[in-house]
């Protein structure tokens, strides 16, 4: 099973849906037969494909994901969750970007123009600036969005960066990768008006260190006009959460998880809720985006 590459929210969509009693008439999630219109290997050792999925593109929010069929046979059995690295309602297209990490992602490298695959989406709460407008940002002259991306955690943040920049937010991206070979193209972030700062663990690209080393120096200046959204491996998210512990700025994390359905049916992608009570959220339906203080990310407090 693959890892969900990220997304989420604050649940507005899902809650509304639950309150809806139309009895099956309302279909917020679409299972579409999507045709691949382009697929390529792009910098960072990842594959990128655009697919025709108008229903999904039309209703998608930043940091949502899709569950993609990789085989019509009985194996590999499960679909693979991927965040939307780009989507366009106008063009009716969605884009997913993936690194080859296992059986499913490897099969997907055989896609070519014209390949048809079933895609279920849009999934998860996603995250939109509308979700956070209530948090003292209302009165900010120029609210600032700080994106913290580790590895492929960079991918789902582009739609959010674009949305924020287009609404007059000041947007900065801190992006960390292992080495130059894994550094993905960030030019679309730059083009959207986003400041991009990169670090690699071995110093072969950008500054040497981790993404948290980039974030740390700016934390003292973060306040009520700032929002931080982080996506990446759990140890990275844990570090960001710890660094931000005393900051007034809200931190949101987008989680990955082993997943089966992606829709809340199976309750498989559990993440422990913060606090003493034994309680779990589900990454696919309550997330993938959570307020950092909602979830237990493990390790020392």
């Amino acid at each position: 099973m693959s890892l969900l590459v990220n997304s989420n929210t604050i649940g507005a969509g899902a809650e509304e849906a639950r309150g809806h009693s139309g009895g099956g008439a309302l279909r917020e999630i679409y299972d579409v037969n999507a045709q691949v219109v382009s697929v390529a290997v792009v910098p960072g050792e990842v594959y990128r494909a655009k697919l025709v999925a108008p229903e999904i593109a039309r209703s998608a929010r930043p940091l949502q994901f899709v569950n993609v069929e990789v085989s019509q046979g009985p194996h590999p059995f499960l679909r693979r969750p991927f965040s939307l690295s780009w989507f366009s309602a106008a063009e009716g297209l969605i884009e997913i970007t993936w690194a080859v990490v296992g059986e499913g992602s490897k099969i997907m490298t055989q896609w070519e123009t014209g390949t048809e695959v079933r895609v279920l989406g849009p999934l998860g709460n996603g995250f939109s600036l509308k979700d956070i407008k209530g948090e003292a940002l209302q009165n900010a002259d120029r609210p600032r969005l700080w994106l913290v991306g580790g590895g492929t955690g960079l991918l789902p943040m582009y739609p959010l960066a674009k949305e924020a920049a287009s609404q007059g937010w000041e947007v900065a991206l801190f992006y960390g990768a292992r080495s130059m070979a894994q550094v993905m193209d960030t030019s679309r972030f730059v083009k959207a008006g986003c400041r991009v700062i990169v670090a690699t663990e071995d110093g072969t690209y950008g500054s040497r260190g981790r993404v948290t080393d980039l974030l740390e120096p700016v934390i003292p200046e973060l306040g009520h006009e700032d929002v931080i959204v982080a996506c990446g491996p759990v140890p990275m998210l844990r570090s960001v959460k710890n660094l931000m512990a005393l900051s007034a700025a809200p931190l949101y994390v987008s989680l990955e998880s082993r997943m089966a359905c992606g829709t809340g049916l199976c309750k498989g992608c559990a993440v422990r809720a913060a606090g003493d009570e034994e309680k779990y959220y589900h990454v696919c339906s309550d997330g993938p985006v959570f307020r950092a203080d909602q979830v237990e990310l493990g390790g020392a407090p």
Partner: protein, 305 residues
């Protein structure tokens, strides 16, 4: 070729087609209603419900395996009270027969659950889960031993009064003995199979992959086992059987019917293909029409009759 009628009376449950949602892949329907039409199912079995709410097992809870998956969800559910007062009344609006899957640690709890759901409008049947491999106490223990299964079935039947289905475990040494005990205890129907106990190990961390260490195996990988169980049990009892285990095509449905199942349920495959019931119903009808079968009930048990 005449008109094909897919409807059936399954131990008193009026199903308009023989395709049900298996417990554990459908929740109480809310999530599904965002994806597909609940009315596509002939019946739905809701998430395994316990007397008190359960948070479920620690993650990871799922792992993919060859042609299938392991799960150790651990019966995460809001408890009988919320199910009875909120979940079932909501689900009732779709007019699809509701089977409430119940799980307990003791016979007394089973009895109490029977009493609670006895008065809930819209509950077509209780499905007694004596086969969940993911909870420590109770769960599968009731389904491995004929005597315990008899007592669990009887406790629910006596309290509930209505249609009782007992869901059997393939992990029993002799599933036919357990099946007969369930019927003796008052089961009006049987459903089989629940998942097979299994595990996976992460070779990098060198530890079990699931948070609960072991889990239940489901998906196409278990279909031959499920089919064998249905084939054997169908010949050992006279009550109707709901067959399940790896069903993902109309051919699978037909196979289960030939083995002796009157109805079938889709489980893990619904997680992969949420619109599966609509397709199965359509394709089953197509098959029956091609073969001149008036009602798929004609197929039931044909493999051994």
């Amino acid at each position: 070729m005449g008109h094909t009628d897919l409807s059936l009376d399954f131990a008193g449950i009026k199903m308009k087609n023989p395709i049900a949602a298996a417990s554990g892949v459908f929740g109480y329907g809310e999530e599904y209603s965002r994806i597909g039409d609940i009315r596509a199912f002939g019946a739905v079995s809701v998430k395994g419900t316990t007397l008190k709410p359960r948070a479920g097992n620690p993650p990871p809870r799922v792992a993919e395996t060859p042609a299938g998956m392991l799960n150790s969800i651990g019966l995460e559910n809001p408890g009988a009270k919320v199910a009875a007062e909120e979940k079932i009344p909501w689900l009732r609006q779709f007019g699809v027969p509701i089977i409430v899957n119940i799980s307990a640690d003791t016979y007394e709890e089973f009895s109490e659950l029977g009493t609670i759901f006895k008065d809930v409008e819209g509950v077509s049947a209780l499905e007694v889960n004596v086969s969940c491999p993911n909870v420590r106490a109770g769960g599968m223990a009731f389904g491995l031993d004929p005597r315990s299964c008899y007592r669990a079935a009887k406790a629910v039947k006596d309290a509930f009064g209505g249609t009782v289905i007992v869901k059997l475990s393939p992990n029993a040494a002799d599933i036919t003995a357990v099946a007969r005990a369930a019927v003796e205890g008052g089961a009006d129907a049987l459903s089989l199979i629940n998942t097979l106990l299994g595990m996976a190990i992460d070779i990098r961390s060198r530890k079990p992959l699931l948070g609960n260490i072991t889990g239940g195996l489901s998906g196409p990988a278990i279909k031959p086992v499920a089919l064998r169980c249905v084939y054997q049990v169908a010949q050992a009892v006279t009550v109707p059987i709901m067959g399940m285990g790896g069903i993902r095509s109309w051919e699978d449905v037909v196979e289960f019917m030939l083995a002796g199942a009157s109805a079938v349920a889709v489980g893990a495959s619904l997680l992969v293909d949420p619109l599966l019931p609509e397709r199965l119903t359509r394709e089953l009808a197509g098959y029956c029409a091609r073969e001149g079968i008036g009602n798929p009930g004609e197929l039931v048990g044909a493999a051994w009759r």
